[in-house]
């Protein structure tokens, strides 16, 4: 997910062409206080005019405790971007207050079947402590994300390249997200010139369960994709596992072996995840097995 400052028209205009899965149009930390109104108006207009192609669009509004949060929602919610990100979420009550406003605005604008989902952002120690309850606070939350810069500031520590200070928070947030079926997204990697550092960090966060990463420069897109995209061998193996699973399932067999190794439900689930990352349609595999 590529972060784009909400007051930069050129970057917003081009944000859909960089091949990232999602862009975040930021009205919060990337925008100076005296630019908040301008950014809100610009993002509102850009959402209606700019083509983002296949890129998912998320808008990060200001926290409801600031003078800008409600005004942001009034302008953005009626346009129903793919998601709204709610920053500095600390409690279930925060989510409730936020969603109350979202639903009020949707009702006011006659939006009966809202499509917009909610991303909550955890970036304080209190938020980390409450993350399990937050993750389950509203059915429209479909992703949870960690804000490393604010979190380290809140903890009174320096964010180091090895990420040791936020490691517990990362793992706790991942577990909370997994518990409630949410996508969990990692924080930014600030040094855009350190491609290897970005790769190492992305490999690490993939291993501990994150589904994606926040980016601050389009040059970071390819590295993150390279790490998250399964290799050709992984895809071939997953394809074989899923094909055999369907074949055995049709024959009434639950557990089977490939090359002498047992394949059970968790193995099949991992294969499905790989195939989904590779954009391979499971139904096509099922059809191919059937024929």
């Amino acid at each position: 997910m590529l972060y784009i400052p909400g007051n930069n028209p050129a970057m917003i205009q081009q944000s859909g062409v960089y091949g990232c899965d999602a862009v975040l149009l930021d009205l919060e930390d990337a925008v100076a206080l005296n630019q908040k109104d301008a950014a809100r108006i610009l993002v509102r207009n850009m959402l209606q005019t700019v083509e983002f192609y296949d890129t998912e669009v998320c808008v990060r509004v200001n926290n409801m405790h600031t003078p800008f949060g409600l005004a942001d929602l009034e302008e953005i919610v009626p346009l129903q971007p793919d998601n709204i990100r709610f920053p500095k979420t600390e409690t279930v009550q925060d989510v409730k207050d936020f969603m109350k406003e979202v639903r009020r605005i949707e009702k006011k604008h006659g939006i009966k079947n809202p499509t917009m989902t909610i991303h909550v952002m955890i970036e304080t120690a209190k938020g980390v402590a409450n993350v399990y309850d937050i993750a389950n606070a509203d059915s429209r939350i479909d992703a949870i994300t960690i804000g490393g810069q604010d979190l380290t500031a809140d903890m009174g520590i320096v964010k180091t390249p090895d990420g040791v200070g936020i490691d517990y928070a990362r793992k706790r947030i991942v577990m909370a997200g997994k518990a409630y079926g949410l996508d969990v997204l990692d924080t930014v990697f600030a040094d855009v010139n350190d491609e290897e550092g970005l790769r190492e960090e992305t490999e690490y966060i993939k291993k501990i369960g994150f589904a994606g990463k926040a980016l601050i420069n389009p040059r970071q897109v390819d590295v993150v994709h390279e790490v998250f995209n399964p290799t050709e061998n992984e895809v071939r193996k997953a394809y074989r596992v899923y094909s055999e699973f369907i074949r055995n399932k049709n024959a009434g067999i639950g557990v089977f072996a490939i090359d002498g190794k047992m394949v059970d439900a968790p193995v099949v689930q991992r294969a499905i995840t790989v195939l989904e990352y590779a954009n391979i349609d499971l139904k096509e595999i099922e059809k191919s097995v059937a024929s």
Binding site: N217, P218, R219
Partner: protein
């Protein structure tokens, strides 16, 4: 008369004579009788053991008996750091020589000083592959007496051989030379690498002066230009600004947009059917074009592809790929940075070639005819895939034809990379302001908003679509971009022809009209 692109071409232009219209990329070369070679080597003689060394450039020029109406030629290997061309013109002017035809292989920002000489009529004709800066502006405003001729690199060699350019005096800068005129760009404090563009001047000019800041003991080894063509040698304190001649190594752009376009272009190459062992490759020296090399390099390593050769304009990035074994050889007509010079000097697989071998359409071994893939930039493209690399959005001359049309004509796959708009200006037009490279020789245009494949290559389009490349119709792309930017009003042009764009076969592919006011 109209040429094959529908451009109205005058049958005759004062100062140049009859013109032939462009008929198609290979039509004239294949179907027409080969043009007569109206040039022969000048017979020269020198007594044994006499010296060619002159005290200074002025003395050497005097010995060449300059005259009004003469043609003076230069190479552009010193690029933005060139100090020799301006020195020569100043001396000729002080001698009272006028009505000069200037034929430099290209003209750069180092040559803005030519403006007063053009304005006062000391220079009346210009042949070049590129014209930039203030000089381009005043030519665009009609200040040059006769239209400038914009040729390609290969076309320049052809123009020498057919006699369209008749060199009377060639002043050739070298970073090292000896007393007999054996000269090179590959070593010395001002090293600039290959000296490939200077070969044709040295061979056929009536008088040839080598100018160097680094006179070495005889013999100068290795040397590119050889002593039997050289009349005089001059040692000077400086041939120009070394920092602008060649410095450091080339860095790949960090522009996210250029990198994105380059990534897409590399994908196009990978799935073109040409990405395999033995592939030959050429890429431009900057921006998105050079960045394609970065991605191609990664892709070649990933797929274990070993290419045959690279040609061109060579950067340190190309040298790195040679040293990594990704290509067997580099054929180098022009080097872009200091790191390349040492490779030319030390690596036997880094082969210096002449512009004749590089791109002359009228020989039997042009390297461009053996090229698989070339990646080129563009100022504008149009829905017929024509490319403009010479005139800007106000109609002013501000770019270079270079080897654009040469490489496009020969390559199996010509990829043009450009953003779909720059600033507020759409880059995909109904018709480019000036055609330098005809759409017939352009296969793919890669933008950040989609890849356009020439309809003449349906199999390529199918292969790219199958590989997941976002292929779009160029007219649809134009509509989308126009919807974002609006369609800018065209600048009103005058009716005076200020430049002729000569296609590599010597025909005229486009004409450039004057613009009223640029400043």
């Amino acid at each position: 008369m109209k040429n094959a692109l529908g451009v109205e071409i005058p049958e005759y232009i004062e100062g140049f004579g009859e013109l032939k219209p462009f008929r198609g990329v290979w039509k004239s070369i294949i179907e027409d009788e080969a043009p007569a070679t109206n040039i022969s080597r000048t017979l020269k003689a020198k007594k044994p053991h006499t010296s060619k060394l002159c005290d200074n450039l002025e003395a050497a020029i005097k010995k060449c008996n300059p005259f009004d109406g003469m043609t003076v030629t230069f190479h552009h290997h010193l690029r933005g750091g060139d100090g020799v061309l301006m020195q020569t013109i100043k001396i000729l002017d002080e001698m009272g020589i006028k009505d000069i035809t200037l034929a430099s292989s290209s003209l750069t920002s180092a040559h803005d000083g030519l403006v007063p000489y053009v304005e006062k009529g000391m220079i009346t004709k210009i042949f070049s592959s590129g014209i930039r800066g203030r000089l381009g502006e005043i030519i665009s405003m009609g200040k040059l007496k006769y239209p400038a001729i914009i040729h390609s690199h290969g076309g320049r060699v052809r123009d020498f051989l057919t006699g369209r350019i008749k060199p009377d005096l060639s002043v050739l800068a070298a970073s090292a030379a000896d007393e007999e005129g054996n000269a090179t760009g590959s070593h010395g404090p001002s090293a600039f690498g290959s000296m490939g563009y200077a070969d044709i001047d040295a061979r056929y000019s009536k008088n040839v002066i080598i100018v160097t800041d680094n006179l070495v003991d005889y013999p100068c080894v290795p040397s590119t230009v050889r002593q039997h063509f050289i009349d005089y040698v001059v040692k000077v304190d400086s041939i120009g600004d070394a920092s602008k001649i060649a410095s450091g190594t080339t860095r790949i752009t960090t522009s996210p947009m250029d990198l994105r376009i380059a990534r897409i272009a590399a994908n196009v190459i990978e799935h073109s059917g040409l990405f395999k062992d033995g592939m030959s490759f050429q890429v431009g020296a900057g921006g998105a074009s050079l960045a394609v090399a970065k991605f191609l390099r990664e892709d070649m390593k990933r797929k274990d592809i070993k290419g045959s050769f690279m040609i061109g304009g060579v950067t340190s990035y190309g040298v790195d790929m040679l040293n990594e074994g990704l290509f067997q050889a580099i054929f180098d007509v022009q080097s872009f940075d200091a790191a390349v010079s040492s490779s030319v000097l030390n690596n036997p697989n880094h082969i210096e070639i002449t512009c004749d071998q590089y791109a002359n359409p009228n020989n039997c071994g042009s390297m461009t005819n053996k090229l698989d893939v070339v990646v080129l930039g563009a100022l504008e493209v149009d829905v017929d895939f024509n490319v403009n690399v010479i005139t800007g959005s106000s109609g002013e001359i501000r770019g270079a034809s270079g080897g654009h049309s040469d490489t496009a004509s020969g390559a199996n796959l010509t990829v043009v990379v450009c953003p779909s708009f720059r600033g507020r200006l759409p880059i995909v037009k109904d018709r480019v302001h000036t055609v330098v490279t005809p759409g017939e020789s352009v296969d793919v245009i890669v933008t950040e908003r989609g890849v356009c494949v020439n309809p003449s290559k349906p199999n390529l389009a199918a292969a790219l679509i199958k590989a997941g490349v976002k292929v779009v119709d160029i007219k649809d792309l134009k509509e989308k971009v126009d919807a974002m930017t609006g369609i800018p009003a065209e600048k009103e042009l005058g009716d005076k022809i200020v430049a002729l764009v000569e296609y590599r076969d010597g025909t005229i592919i486009d004409v450039i009209y004057n613009v009223e006011n640029l400043s």
